[in-house]
Protein backbone atom coordinates (compact mmCIF):
# COMPACT_ATOMS: atom_id res chain seq x y z
CA UNK A 1 0.00 0.00 0.00
CA UNK A 2 1.52 3.23 -1.11
CA UNK A 3 1.88 6.14 1.27
CA UNK A 4 2.87 8.59 -1.41
CA UNK A 5 1.21 11.94 -0.95
CA UNK A 6 -1.12 12.98 -3.72
CA UNK A 7 0.29 15.65 -5.96
CA UNK A 8 -1.74 18.62 -6.96
CA UNK A 9 -2.29 19.24 -10.64
CA UNK A 10 -0.10 22.30 -10.63
CA UNK A 11 2.82 20.06 -9.79
CA UNK A 12 3.20 20.88 -6.13
CA UNK A 13 2.70 18.33 -3.43
CA UNK A 14 -0.53 18.94 -1.62
CA UNK A 15 0.01 16.14 0.87
CA UNK A 16 -3.50 14.97 0.15
CA UNK A 17 -4.68 12.16 2.40
CA UNK A 18 -1.13 11.36 3.36
CA UNK A 19 -2.13 10.59 6.93
CA UNK A 20 -5.39 8.81 6.22
CA UNK A 21 -5.13 5.09 5.64
CA UNK A 22 -6.84 3.36 2.74
CA UNK A 23 -8.87 1.35 5.26
CA UNK A 24 -10.17 4.53 6.88
CA UNK A 25 -11.11 5.94 3.52
CA UNK A 26 -12.96 2.74 2.63
CA UNK A 27 -14.90 3.00 5.89
CA UNK A 28 -15.73 6.62 5.09
CA UNK A 29 -16.87 5.64 1.61
CA UNK A 30 -18.98 2.77 2.94
CA UNK A 31 -20.63 5.13 5.42
CA UNK A 32 -21.35 7.54 2.57
CA UNK A 33 -23.03 4.84 0.51
CA UNK A 34 -25.03 3.71 3.53
CA UNK A 35 -26.10 7.27 4.21
CA UNK A 36 -27.40 7.76 0.68
CA UNK A 37 -29.25 4.44 0.70
CA UNK A 38 -30.98 5.30 3.99
CA UNK A 39 -31.77 8.80 2.73
CA UNK A 40 -33.43 7.45 -0.40
CA UNK A 41 -35.36 4.55 1.14
CA UNK A 42 -38.22 6.86 2.21
CA UNK A 43 -38.71 7.96 -1.40
CA UNK A 44 -39.69 4.41 -2.27
CA UNK A 45 -41.79 3.52 0.76
CA UNK A 46 -43.50 6.81 1.48
CA UNK A 47 -46.39 7.75 -0.81
CA UNK A 48 -46.08 11.12 -2.52
CA UNK A 49 -47.65 13.89 -0.53
CA UNK A 50 -50.44 16.23 -1.49
CA UNK A 51 -49.52 19.11 -3.83
CA UNK A 52 -48.32 22.30 -2.12
CA UNK A 53 -51.55 24.11 -2.96
CA UNK A 54 -53.73 21.43 -1.37
CA UNK A 55 -56.13 22.52 1.33
CA UNK A 56 -55.37 22.03 5.00
CA UNK A 57 -58.14 19.47 5.18
CA UNK A 58 -56.59 17.46 2.33
CA UNK A 59 -53.23 17.52 4.09
CA UNK A 60 -54.75 16.34 7.36
CA UNK A 61 -56.49 13.51 5.50
CA UNK A 62 -53.29 12.46 3.73
CA UNK A 63 -50.99 12.64 6.74
CA UNK A 64 -53.52 10.88 8.95
CA UNK A 65 -53.98 8.06 6.44
CA UNK A 66 -50.23 7.47 6.04
CA UNK A 67 -49.04 8.45 9.50
CA UNK A 68 -47.20 5.22 10.36
CA UNK A 69 -45.28 4.85 7.11
CA UNK A 70 -44.38 8.55 7.07
CA UNK A 71 -43.02 8.39 10.61
CA UNK A 72 -41.12 5.19 9.82
CA UNK A 73 -39.64 6.77 6.69
CA UNK A 74 -38.50 9.74 8.73
CA UNK A 75 -36.78 7.54 11.27
CA UNK A 76 -35.08 5.46 8.57
CA UNK A 77 -33.77 8.64 6.98
CA UNK A 78 -32.53 9.81 10.38
CA UNK A 79 -30.51 6.61 10.80
CA UNK A 80 -28.34 7.83 7.95
CA UNK A 81 -27.43 11.09 9.70
CA UNK A 82 -24.54 9.68 11.76
CA UNK A 83 -23.20 8.07 8.59
CA UNK A 84 -23.38 11.41 6.78
CA UNK A 85 -21.22 12.91 9.54
CA UNK A 86 -18.54 10.31 8.85
CA UNK A 87 -18.63 11.02 5.12
CA UNK A 88 -18.54 14.81 5.50
CA UNK A 89 -15.81 14.71 8.16
CA UNK A 90 -13.75 12.43 5.95
CA UNK A 91 -14.17 14.68 2.92
CA UNK A 92 -13.26 17.75 4.96
CA UNK A 93 -10.14 16.01 6.28
CA UNK A 94 -9.11 15.00 2.77
CA UNK A 95 -9.67 18.51 1.42
CA UNK A 96 -7.82 20.13 4.31
CA UNK A 97 -4.76 18.01 3.70
CA UNK A 98 -4.99 18.52 -0.04
CA UNK A 99 -5.11 22.29 0.34
CA UNK A 100 -2.18 22.28 2.70
CA UNK A 101 -0.92 25.23 4.68
CA UNK A 102 -3.11 28.30 4.31
CA UNK A 103 -6.01 26.38 2.83
CA UNK A 104 -9.45 27.81 3.52
CA UNK A 105 -11.81 26.41 0.89
CA UNK A 106 -12.28 23.27 2.94
CA UNK A 107 -13.72 25.51 5.66
CA UNK A 108 -16.41 26.71 3.28
CA UNK A 109 -17.22 23.10 2.46
CA UNK A 110 -17.33 22.31 6.19
CA UNK A 111 -19.49 25.27 7.21
CA UNK A 112 -21.88 25.00 4.29
CA UNK A 113 -22.27 21.26 4.76
CA UNK A 114 -22.92 21.71 8.48
CA UNK A 115 -25.50 24.38 7.75
CA UNK A 116 -27.33 22.16 5.26
CA UNK A 117 -27.23 19.19 7.65
CA UNK A 118 -28.57 21.37 10.49
CA UNK A 119 -31.33 22.67 8.25
CA UNK A 120 -32.20 19.13 7.19
CA UNK A 121 -32.42 18.09 10.83
CA UNK A 122 -34.77 20.95 11.69
CA UNK A 123 -36.93 20.24 8.63
CA UNK A 124 -36.93 16.55 9.45
CA UNK A 125 -38.10 17.28 12.99
CA UNK A 126 -40.83 19.60 11.69
CA UNK A 127 -41.96 16.96 9.22
CA UNK A 128 -42.08 14.30 11.94
CA UNK A 129 -44.10 16.70 14.09
CA UNK A 130 -46.47 17.19 11.19
CA UNK A 131 -46.92 13.45 10.65
CA UNK A 132 -47.31 12.70 14.34
CA UNK A 133 -49.81 15.38 15.27
CA UNK A 134 -51.76 16.09 12.11
CA UNK A 135 -54.73 13.91 12.96
CA UNK A 136 -55.48 15.96 16.07
CA UNK A 137 -54.40 19.35 14.83
CA UNK A 138 -56.06 22.28 13.10
CA UNK A 139 -55.88 22.01 9.27
CA UNK A 140 -54.46 25.53 9.11
CA UNK A 141 -51.67 24.53 11.48
CA UNK A 142 -50.95 21.43 9.41
CA UNK A 143 -50.79 23.52 6.23
CA UNK A 144 -48.51 26.08 7.89
CA UNK A 145 -46.06 23.40 9.04
CA UNK A 146 -46.19 21.76 5.62
CA UNK A 147 -45.38 25.06 3.90
CA UNK A 148 -42.57 25.68 6.37
CA UNK A 149 -41.04 22.32 5.46
CA UNK A 150 -41.43 23.03 1.72
CA UNK A 151 -39.86 26.48 2.00
CA UNK A 152 -37.05 25.18 4.18
CA UNK A 153 -36.40 22.45 1.65
CA UNK A 154 -35.85 25.11 -1.01
CA UNK A 155 -33.47 27.03 1.25
CA UNK A 156 -31.62 23.80 2.01
CA UNK A 157 -29.91 23.98 -1.37
CA UNK A 158 -28.39 27.44 -0.88
CA UNK A 159 -25.60 26.38 1.50
CA UNK A 160 -25.10 23.27 -0.58
CA UNK A 161 -24.23 25.43 -3.57
CA UNK A 162 -21.43 27.00 -1.57
CA UNK A 163 -20.27 23.55 -0.44
CA UNK A 164 -20.15 22.25 -4.00
CA UNK A 165 -18.39 25.35 -5.28
CA UNK A 166 -15.72 24.98 -2.60
CA UNK A 167 -15.39 21.24 -3.20
CA UNK A 168 -15.12 21.85 -6.93
CA UNK A 169 -12.39 24.43 -6.44
CA UNK A 170 -10.38 22.12 -4.18
CA UNK A 171 -10.81 19.13 -6.46
CA UNK A 172 -9.77 21.00 -9.60
CA UNK A 173 -6.72 22.50 -7.88
CA UNK A 174 -5.57 19.29 -6.26
CA UNK A 175 -5.94 15.61 -6.99
CA UNK A 176 -7.83 14.90 -3.79
CA UNK A 177 -10.68 13.38 -5.81
CA UNK A 178 -10.98 12.63 -9.53
CA UNK A 179 -11.38 15.76 -11.65
CA UNK A 180 -14.81 14.67 -12.92
CA UNK A 181 -16.11 15.12 -9.37
CA UNK A 182 -15.06 18.75 -9.41
Amino acid sequence: MSTTATKSRNGTTGGAAGAMSARTQRIIGACGIGFVILAFVPFFVVPPGPPPDASGEAMVAFYSAHRSVLLLGGWVRSLGDPLSMVLLAGLVALMRRAEGEGGWLYLIFLMASLLSVALAEVLGAAAQLLYATTASSNPDVAKAISELVSLGFALYFLPLMAAWAAAGAVITRTAVLPAWLG
Binding site: S2, Q25, R26, G29, A30, P48, V176, L177
Partner: protein, 39 residues
Protein backbone atom coordinates in the same frame (compact mmCIF):
# COMPACT_ATOMS: atom_id res chain seq x y z
CA UNK B 1 -44.01 21.04 -12.53
CA UNK B 2 -44.07 17.69 -10.79
CA UNK B 3 -43.15 14.13 -11.55
CA UNK B 4 -46.43 12.42 -12.36
CA UNK B 5 -45.78 8.75 -11.74
CA UNK B 6 -43.46 6.34 -9.99
CA UNK B 7 -41.98 6.46 -6.50
CA UNK B 8 -40.86 10.04 -7.01
CA UNK B 9 -44.25 11.30 -8.15
CA UNK B 10 -45.55 14.48 -6.62
CA UNK B 11 -42.08 15.95 -6.27
CA UNK B 12 -40.83 18.95 -8.18
CA UNK B 13 -38.37 18.38 -11.03
CA UNK B 14 -35.99 21.09 -9.83
CA UNK B 15 -35.78 19.82 -6.28
CA UNK B 16 -35.54 16.27 -7.54
CA UNK B 17 -32.67 17.12 -9.89
CA UNK B 18 -30.84 18.97 -7.11
CA UNK B 19 -31.35 16.07 -4.71
CA UNK B 20 -30.16 13.53 -7.25
CA UNK B 21 -27.15 15.73 -7.99
CA UNK B 22 -26.31 16.05 -4.32
CA UNK B 23 -26.67 12.39 -3.48
CA UNK B 24 -25.15 11.33 -6.76
CA UNK B 25 -22.04 13.33 -5.89
CA UNK B 26 -21.93 11.79 -2.44
CA UNK B 27 -22.26 8.28 -3.88
CA UNK B 28 -19.60 8.93 -6.52
CA UNK B 29 -17.16 10.33 -3.95
CA UNK B 30 -17.89 7.42 -1.62
CA UNK B 31 -17.33 4.84 -4.33
CA UNK B 32 -14.05 6.51 -5.25
CA UNK B 33 -12.91 6.29 -1.63
CA UNK B 34 -13.92 2.63 -1.39
CA UNK B 35 -12.53 1.50 -4.73
CA UNK B 36 -9.54 3.79 -5.12
CA UNK B 37 -8.52 5.34 -1.79
CA UNK B 38 -6.57 8.55 -2.19
CA UNK B 39 -3.07 7.45 -1.21
Amino acid sequence: MFVESGPLSGRGFGALAALLGQFGWYVAASIVLVVRPRV
